[in-house]
């Protein structure tokens, strides 16, 4: 199996075929993770650099584990903020690193478009590990993988993204990916946290959680960025929880079992109550496990299944 894309910058620009290829490939890596020996020689001799310009624990660990399990040589680089430091520009930094002969770069940055910028100035394969409020493709792929694993397929399923939609890279990548494979996508949250004209992406917008619960197969509950309160985007955590928090009582409106997902880290008691997060319907920890498998698939396909058409 090969990818048509040289990079994974987002799910917006990638063909549907590549999404399916990644999900299918991830399935076999997922089986490897249940073996006693989880290491494969697939990326032996390849060098992957993880550039994290934004603090991240779980995404970074997930990528590093995926790389190690494929036997890649890895280097990780953390910087709180590139432009705060005087002197070297981001482009100079990454060109210097590439000059040390590397094969792939995983990049996370608070500015939208940084993965695209790297793809323009470097020759390595670029994987977007989250660029500001733009995209987080591996998170959406692991969400899609988990839904497929639990519900069989994605086509025709109704998936709701709930909560803080504006500037959510998780929401955007999920929307692009899910629409490409024929799922029905709803977003639901306070009107101030839903970006303008998002319905143009072919999705439905709701402001009342109780209206969507009877319709959905999956609730993907997004993390509320707490600083939004200071920006006057919602009045209080109390009101947010009362109207948009997913609780056991609220789920009683369901007409079928609903898969509960969350990209983490969770604000328990705000966007999700503990009894929901820890319930049988919750696949939140399985998402984390699947994240390693999906990232292994992406690394493997970009390194080995390189297409020369780009």
């Amino acid at each position: 199996m090969v990818l048509h894309s040289k990079h994974l910058l987002g799910l917006d620009g990638i063909p549907q075929k590549d999404i399916i290829t990644i999900l299918d490939t991830a399935k076999s890596f997922r089986e490897v993770l249940d073996r006693p020996i989880k290491r494969l020689p697939t990326l032996q001799g390849k060098t992957v650099v993880n550039l994290f310009y934004e603090p991240s624990t779980r995404t970074r660990i997930s990528f590093e584990l995926a790389e190690k399990r494929l036997s890649a040589d890895i280097v990780s680089f953390s910087a709180s903020n590139s432009s705060v430091k005087k002197g070297e520009t981001l482009i100079d930094t990454v060109k210097n690193i590439e000059a040390m002969k590397i094969d792939m770069v995983v990049v996370r940055h608070s500015s939208p478009g940084v993965a695209h910028l790297l793809a323009r100035v470097l020759t390595s394969h670029i994987i977007n590990g989250g660029d500001g409020g733009h995209e987080h493709p591996t998170q959406a792929l692991l969400d899609m993988f988990t839904i497929r694993q639990k519900l069989g397929n994605l086509q025709g399923k109704t998936i709701a993204l709930v909560g803080d939609i504006s500037h959510s890279r998780v929401a955007m990548s999920n929307i692009y990916g899910l629409k490409k494979v024929g799922a029905r996508v709803l977003v639901c949250g306070p009107s101030t946290l839903i970006p303008r004209e998002i319905e143009k992406l072919g999705i439905e917008v709701y402001y009342n959680i109780d209206e969507i619960i009877p319709q959905v197969d999956v609730l993907n509950i997004l993390r509320l960025q707490l600083e939004r309160q200071r920006e006057a985007l919602f009045p209080s955590l109390r009101e947010y929880h009362n109207y948009f928090g997913i609780t056991r009582e609220r789920l009683e409106g369901a007409t079928k079992p609903i898969l509960i997902m969350h990209p983490g880290p969770m604000n328990r008691g705000i966007e999700i109550s503990s009894d929901v997060a820890d319930s049988d319907h919750s696949v939140i920890l399985e998402q984390v496990t699947n994240g390693v498998a999906v990232r292994m698939a992406v690394l493997y396909l970009l390194a080995g299944g390189r297409s020369e058409t780009h």
């Binding site: 939208p112 695209h116 910028l117 970006p195 303008r196 004209e197």
Partner: protein
């Protein structure tokens, strides 16, 4: 007959005009004289001495072949950031003036967001000294408020006496309605316009692009069009209340154009300008994440762009001004959210206006000259150059039909931050004449 040997060959900076020069075969377009016809033009010692059919056979001086060229009163770009003093790494009065001449302008207004800002007589004098002896006239625009902080009025009467032609806190809005009201009132004493950078900064803080579908897709913070419209509505009302002259800088939205249109119908003293990038590009280009699509006001939607074209056509929009905003390569070659706002425009303005407006039959050559020369001079209460015998020769000469490719390496600006690199344009600057000097464009 000498064939322009001095004139055409020397391309290093401004050249003294030969004591006697004949511009042969060009079409003179001067709306103030109601002229649009082929005429030869003789200049002696910087002054127009003869117009009409002039035989070059027995002529002893230099001849500049102007066949297929259009000769108009010299153009004035009333919104330029020359960056001096304070940001000489981006541009200087000298390099900005060369860029202006290269792009077909004989005059520029320089905006006050320098360091220190243009809020004192000393800085105005400094800029005047820097431009002394230049082909390009530099007209400083002074700050409305001290340090451009929006708090206390600058010493406006003194600044005007020293040479300021208008006041503006450009780069920042005047957020206090009270300060804006007093600035308008005060400006009436010296009959200068107040130029507004219209943006309610409480709504645009942290924004990187126009708010709308594209900002949603790109995950970039939006700057809503209504933030501009609110301020224009406010300042139109203040202009009406004070009966002062108010000019909207770089208008960018459909509703803004409509506000100005209605205000003009009511007889309120409001004028406005648009940039070539706003009547050419839309927010869709931000999808590339090219930082040369980042400017303030941001690129808007296609609906807005069409309304700007309509405003140019029906006369609501008086002036085309570039908002030439030079930034160094390393500043612009950064993460999108960290890159500074602004692009350069002096050397692409003429080509874009001809390609996007004249060749698309939205406006005539006369209207073009009005928007690039007659109206900016009128708004600033300055005398517009005219093409008639006895006048000082202050001329813009261009070829409206010549196709060319935008090549930033040929720019004379110190910076090259343009989204129009490699664009093919139809209509090219040829030469400018002013202050007894000539410059032939090297674009």
């Amino acid at each position: 007959m000498k064939l322009t040997k001095n004139v055409i060959i020397s391309r290093k900076g401004f050249q003294p005009l030969p004591s006697s020069i004949l511009l042969k075969g060009g079409t003179i377009v001067d709306p103030l004289q109601n002229v649009n016809e082929q005429k030869d033009l003789m200049i002696e010692n910087g002054q127009i001495v003869q117009l009409g059919r002039i035989e070059s056979k027995n002529f002893e001086g230099d001849v500049l072949d102007c066949h297929k060229k259009v000769i108009t009163p010299g153009w004035l770009d009333m919104h330029v950031h020359l960056r001096e003093p304070g940001y000489e790494g981006k541009e200087t009065v000298a390099t900005g003036s060369l860029a202006a001449a290269n792009g077909g302008f004989t005059g520029v207004c320089c905006m006050p967001n320098t360091a220190p800002p243009i809020d004192s007589q000393e800085i105005i004098q400094y800029i005047k000294d820097r431009s002394k002896g230049s082909l390009v006239n530099v007209y400083p625009v002074a700050a409305i408020t001290k340090k451009r902080e929006g708090k206390e009025l600058a010493e406006i009467l003194e600044l005007v006496e020293q040479g300021a032609v208008a006041i503006s806190d450009d780069g920042s809005p005047v957020m206090s309605a009270e300060i804006m009201r007093r600035a308008l009132e005060y400006s009436k004493m010296c009959d200068i316009p107040v130029i507004g950078h219209e943006e309610d900064s409480t709504m645009t803080a942290g924004g990187d692009m126009n708010e709308g579908f594209v900002s949603t897709c790109q995950g970039l913070n939006g700057m809503p069009s209504v933030a501009e419209e609110i301020m224009i509505a406010r300042d139109i009302m203040l202009a009406e209340y004070t009966d002062a002259r108010f000019h909207v800088a770089h208008i960018s939205t459909a509703k803004s154009v409509e506000l100005v249109r209605q205000a003009k119908i009511k007889g309120i003293k409001v004028t406005c300008e648009v940039t070539p990038h706003h009547f050419t590009l839309i927010d869709e280009t931000v999808r590339t994440f090219d930082t040369n699509t980042k400017m303030n006001p941001p690129l808007r939607t296609e609906v807005d762009r069409q309304a700007l074209c309509e405003g140019l056509k029906d006369g609501t929009i008086d002036v085309i001004a570039s908002d030439h905003a030079p930034h160094s390569f390393e500043e612009k070659e950064a993460e999108y959210i960290y890159a500074p706002f602004g692009i350069i425009g002096l050397e692409t303005s003429l080509g874009l206006a001809l390609s996007q407006l004249y060749h698309k039959k939205l406006i005539s050559l006369e209207q073009l000259v009005n928007k690039f020369a007659v109206y900016p001079y009128r708004i600033l209460n300055l005398e517009c150059p005219e093409i008639k015998t006895g006048s000082v020769a202050n001329l813009t000469i261009f070829d409206p039909q010549e196709s060319w490719q935008v090549t930033p390496a040929k720019f004379l600006s110190k910076s090259a931050n343009t989204p129009f690199a490699n664009w093919k344009l139809k209509g090219k600057p040829f030469a400018v004449v002013n202050n007894n000097q000539i410059f032939v464009s090297v674009l």
